[in-house]
């Protein structure tokens, strides 16, 4: 036993002992990083010193660590892909990647990984690239502290900031993404954690995922993206303490949920969005302790949703609190705070004694006939809403909060 341990230690010593450190300076031989990469052997560290390296187009096919000192600039001269990784155990740290080519056909990226596992991409800036980081068919990824900044064109010829396809166990932490089509895009990505990222001013979605199960989204900020956040066809999604701000426009959403099930939306903030959360075909989602403030619609729950629970949320100065398109509602609301609630609490248990009906008549009318939106804020509509509140007849009877909070829920 002792012998084997010693052998392993000895082996490791040799293994790492042989890993070399290769230094590259911009003035020595420029543009030849690829030659060094080809010459380097497994596990070597290539240290690149500050400067501008032009016409870069690197391919990494073995396990290497690329470390930039003081952010050397790798410039693609608007022609090609900057770095392609096709190996396991690769670290990319401390670079500025800029000016990749653009293409409608190929997915040209600042950093592109294909069939690569255990990749660490850390402390880089990726500026003005078609796709920022594009990873497919890989697992165990760490993408941390990167700044990814694009120059958006039209939706169809702008790439995504962080694009993951068929990946597993990705950790995406504290990145700052802006000016791409989708800030973070996932397709078939599972068991991943997305935390403390900021995704702003992307022309389509701040975060977009499909068929990505069992992922955790924590403390991210999605601000002023063209259409907010859209998530579809996934289950076991956990979204906590994220902030969704100013996703404002004719078809903008804080979050658009389509065919999502068994998920948790806890402690998020939705401020100044056209629609806070849009539910379509969702089931068994728990929406708890969120704050909805100054949205056009706080939540829109279509009739295709069931068994969703809305509890302990705060609804404050939204134009419409809840909208729906059918008379049947299979979702439950309880213990929410509604600023439009006008009931009373005789037994002083903090809960209103009469139920609150969050759907108002006009939102039902608009849902049935979109043209009537032209009457928004007319005097007649105000009176109709008041009349319906007094004697409910058209709004769904069972869409109600039977125990509304009188004071703000502490979040």
């Amino acid at each position: 036993m002792k012998k084997t341990k010693a052998t392993i230690i000895l082996f490791l010593l040799f293994y790492y002992g042989f890993a070399n450190i290769i230094n590259i300076h911009p003035e020595s031989i420029s543009n030849n990083i690829q030659k060094y990469i080809d010459k380097a052997s497994y596990g070597d560290t290539i240290v690149i010193h500050p400067g501008i390296y032009t016409s870069v187009s690197l391919v990494l096919q073995k396990s290497l660590h690329l470390i930039g000192i003081n952010k050397p600039i790798l410039d693609g001269d608007f022609k090609n892909e900057l770095l392609r990784i096709n190996a396991d155990n690769v670290t990319i740290e401390g670079f500025i990647f800029r000016n990749s080519g653009k293409s409608g056909m190929n997915e040209i990226a600042g950093i592109r990984c294909i069939d690569a596992n255990k990749i660490i991409i850390i402390n880089n800036e990726i500026i003005n690239c078609h796709f920022g980081i594009h990873i497919s068919n890989s697992s165990t990824l760490t993408i941390q502290n990167n700044i990814i900044k694009g120059t958006p064109f039209e939706e169809q010829n702008t790439g995504n900031g962080i694009h993951l396809w068929k990946c597993n166990y990705a950790n995406i932490f504290t990145n700052n993404i802006s000016g791409h089509r989708d800030g973070i895009y996932f397709e078939f990505v599972t068991n991943s954690t997305i935390q403390d990222n900021i995704s702003t001013f992307n022309i389509r979605y701040g975060l977009h995922f499909m068929f990505s199960h069992s992922n955790l989204y924590l403390c991210n900020e999605f601000i002023q993206n063209g259409a907010g956040v859209a998530v579809m066809y996934s289950k076991n999604v956990r979204m906590e303490e994220n902030t969704f701000i100013k996703n404002w426009g004719a078809s903008s959403y804080g979050i658009l949920l389509k065919d999502i099930s068994d998920s948790w939306i806890y402690n998020n903030k939705f401020l100044y969005n056209t629609i806070g959360i849009h539910f379509e075909g969702t089931s068994r989602i728990e929406v708890v302790r969120n704050e909805f403030q100054n949205n056009g619609w706080a939540i829109k729950v279509l009739a295709s949703c069931m068994d969703n629970r809305f509890e302990h949320n705060n609804f404050i100065s939204n134009s419409f609190d809840v909208a729906t398109n059918g008379s049947l509602s299979l979702n439950t609301f309880s213990h929410n705070y509604w600023d439009k609630y006008e009931g009373y609490d005789l037994n002083h248990d903090g809960l209103g004694d009469v139920p609150f009906y969050p759907v108002n008549l006009y939102s039902m009318i608009v849902e049935q006939n979109p043209n009537t939106i032209i009457l928004l804020r007319s005097t007649l509509i105000g009176f109709l809403d008041k009349a319906e509140k007094a004697i409910p007849s058209l709004t769904p009877e069972n869409l109600k909060d039977s125990s509304p909070f009188l004071k703000l829920n502490s979040l």
């Binding site: 004719a250 100065s317 134009s319 043209n371 032209i374 009457l375 928004l376 007319s378």
Partner: protein, 255 residues
């Protein structure tokens, strides 16, 4: 004519309704700005006030003013002054007083608290509403000799524009919901000065995003040069047509 206008303005200011109106607007605007932390919401509140209060005050005030100065008008007409200049100076004097009230009561706080494009639009539509409602009220009072009937009709007109007309729009939109209704809706909106004012301002505000794709369509239209000319043209017609009928009728009328 100038003396006539000045004399009428002096007469109007004497009865203090205008001062009360100014104070009311001032207090409402200030309260809305101090209660709402976000000036966009305050502007929406002010818009609601304008749409309800400005038309009713203008309609009732103009009718009463006309009936009260009826004897004075009769007296003036015995002098060598043309009928047209008498009725026009009446209209001009009433509007100078009302618009000054709006400018002082609402314009000043608006320009202090939110000196932006939206505030200018608000001021503009309140001026337009004043001009067209007073023209309509003058038309009513020239046609109807009985004071009570005249005031009743003014009230009814206000009720019609604010409630009944929107109800009719709602009915039409639901009856013909199978048809493309964007353009007919636009025409329907133009046929009511209050709706026209509301839509014109709303499309300038952030809240227009709530109006979805229909709103986007209207916004494209009203945001374009053609749209601005269209709404201005409609407002102008809402002033010129009632005023013109009034003048023609007043010229022929047996007093």
């Amino acid at each position: 004519m100038k003396e006539l206008i000045l004399f009428t303005i002096k007469d109007i200011i004497k009865n203090k309704v205008i001062i009360a109106y100014t104070l009311f607007l001032l207090v409402t605007t200030l309260v809305l700005f101090s209660l709402e932390d976000n000036s966009g919401k305050a502007i929406l509140g002010i818009l609601n006030t304008i749409l309800i209060v400005t038309p009713i005050i203008t309609l009732i005030f103009t009718t009463i003013q006309y009936y009260n100065s009826y004897e004075f008008i009769e007296l003036i007409l015995s002098q060598p002054i043309s009928r047209i200049s008498v009725i026009i100076s009446e209209y001009v004097a009433i509007n100078i007083a009302l618009i000054m009230a709006v400018a002082a009561g609402m314009g000043i706080p608006l320009l202090i608290f939110s000196p932006e494009k939206e505030a200018l639009w608000l001021l503009m539509i309140s001026v337009f509403l004043t001009l067209s409602c007073s023209a309509i009220a003058l038309l009513i009072s020239v046609y109807i000799r009985d004071k009570a009937k005249g005031i009743g009709t003014s009230l009814l007109i206000w009720f019609y524009f604010n409630f009944i007309y929107d109800g009719i729009i709602l009915l039409i939109l639901f009856t013909f919901s199978e048809y493309p209704l964007e353009k007919p809706t636009l025409a329907l909106i133009a046929l009511n000065p209050i709706d026209l004012a509301r839509v014109t301002v709303m499309l300038q505000l952030d809240i227009s995003a709530l109006m979805g794709y229909t709103g986007a369509l209207y916004k494209d239209f009203f945001g374009s040069m053609t749209g601005i000319f269209f709404s201005m043209g409609c407002f102008a017609l809402w002033i010129i047509i009632p005023l013109w009928i009034t003048i023609v009728h007043f010229g022929k009328k047996d007093l």
